[in-house]
Amino acid sequence: MLLKSLFLTHFKNYRQAEMEFSRKVNCLVGPNGVGKTNVLDAIYYLSMCKSYLNAVDQQNIHYDEEFAVLQGRFERLSKKESIYCSIHRSKKKQIKRNKKDYQKLSEHIGLLPVVMISPVDSVLISGGSEERRKYMDRVISQYDKDYLDKLIRYNRALTQRNRLLKEFARSGYFDTDSIDIWDEQMIQLAATIHQKRRSFTDELIPVFQRYYHTISGARENVGLAYRSQLHEDDFRKLLTQAIEKDRVLQHTTVGTHKDDLELTIDGHPIKKAGSQGQQKTFLVALKLAQFEFIQKVKKIPPILLLDDIFDKFDHQRVDQIIQLVSDQHFGQIFLTDTSEQRVKELLVDRQTDYRLFRVSTGGQVEQANN
């Protein structure tokens, strides 16, 4: 799958920009703050119907404009797909595929897979378990609508159950029947969520380790493990055991909403034991594994978006990453960097087709080669 051209109107710092891309590597170079990342975010937006960086849609519109329009011409399985997206300050956003409106945005998500590797991913390591659950959920929902539906239902049942616990505490009246019916729903839904998260991580782990060792040169031993209370015991039993505690705390203390991914280096948490370079390698390997996973499920290579990936890496790691992604099974790549020199040096000898775009203040884009 590839993106042939992109047309932006009033998106973030761009008033208007049009770009024609290479089938392989596209590099956006320029100083800080000119809008290199915004191009990657626009591509992400056309695929996922939202920004990778800013969840508030209105803030993705140029600050003195009323609306933004993103248009992309894609080629998917040798078929042309024209995707149009408009974001309005006062209207609902709209996504069109080949001029046809979608009923629901969720119908579009997954059609054009992308994987973004960005400095903000570091929150996966530094943040709480919620970030890591969100990561799993985002990846799995991209290819499994049933998972997304069950996840939404689980969260809904959880909210209702918590509300009921609060109500019990307020009224001083406890009724087992009422709590049981929510337990029963959660047990069924959690079974699917747990099983799907487990098979996702089971597949991801070996691929992730292979990528880490390729990039780092196989020195450290890294681990990724799915942790869930449901590994240990039957969910029904856990809920029964925890009911007294739940009543006191007025929320549900067991379930798949407490799951986590444990990230380790040589057996220690990477958050504490990993250097900045190691942490970044960890995240890049994780994302490349995710890429391979999505490719396997969707049977088309996602578009790979690499935002400021060379920062904090030594020369050898940068070289390894470029080597890896210029390989055939990675499709089209977009990357940003502040140094035109570095990008040229990396790509010039590789006989890879590439295009260089110079971005300057005010969102001016100029194609710099061929």
């Binding site: 239902r153 909210t159 209702q160 009422s178 019916i181 929510w182």
Partner: protein
């Protein structure tokens, strides 16, 4: 438009009342009120009286709790209907929806809501006891659960199932599947998945057409 300073207090009060209705804002309310003022006095009297009469005289059917003019609704009073099949719905609007299909010969039971702690609705707030009485009296052979397919609807279904599963009564629920006249290409994946899982014998589709 400054709606706080009408030339008439009476006008303002009427607008405020209309604006309390769902989907009606102040501007629409004003338009409706001005429209009423242009109509014949008699017509407007009739309009007002109809609403007052509606509120004062409307009843709930003592058997199924649907909105009704009399103590017993025409459906429950109809001896030609199958009183051993009870379709459980959330509200009177659902009864109207199913009635307009002309496909259902049984009677109804209106719960008056679904279980949702967030909205302060528990099993005790629903018309379940009267359904229980009917079932215990042995009048019911089949209960059809026809609640919405939301989390709350499913939970309420489950609650009723638990309550009645040990009674000699068949408990069924509405089929979930592809809508009639839909292209498969445009059917959403979840619905299509359910339709594959719960596929039916082709023979059965012939007789129902």
């Amino acid at each position: 438009m400054d709606l706080e300073n009408f030339s008439s207090k009476l006008l303002q009060e009427a607008v405020d009342e209309f604006a309390k209705l769902p989907g009606i804002g102040k501007k629409t309310a004003l338009r409706l009120v001005l429209h009423l003022l242009n109509r014949d006095q008699e017509e407007v009297n009739q309009f007002g009286n109809t609403i007052i009469k509606l509120r004062n005289e409307i009843q709930r059917c003592r058997s199924c709790h649907v909105i009704s003019d009399g103590e017993l609704c025409p459906i429950c009073a109809d001896n030609n209907r199958d009183h051993s099949t009870v379709c459980v719905v959330e509200n009177s609007r659902d009864v109207m929806a199913i009635e307009s299909t002309h496909q259902y010969p049984g009677i109804y039971h209106v719960l008056g809501g679904i279980i949702s702690p967030m909205d302060g609705m528990g099993p005790g707030d629903l018309n379940i006891q009267s359904l229980e009485e009917k079932v215990e009296a042995g009048q019911v052979n089949e209960i059809i659960l026809a609640l919405s397919t939301t989390m709350e609807g499913d939970t309420t279904n489950f609650f009723l199932y638990k309550k009645f599963r040990n009674h000699p009564v068949r408990i069924t629920t509405l089929a979930r599947g592809v809508a009639i006249g839909d292209d498969l290409e445009y059917a959403d994946e979840l619905t299509l998945g359910k339709s594959i899982q719960n596929r039916t014998l082709f023979e059965n589709t012939l007789s129902s057409q």
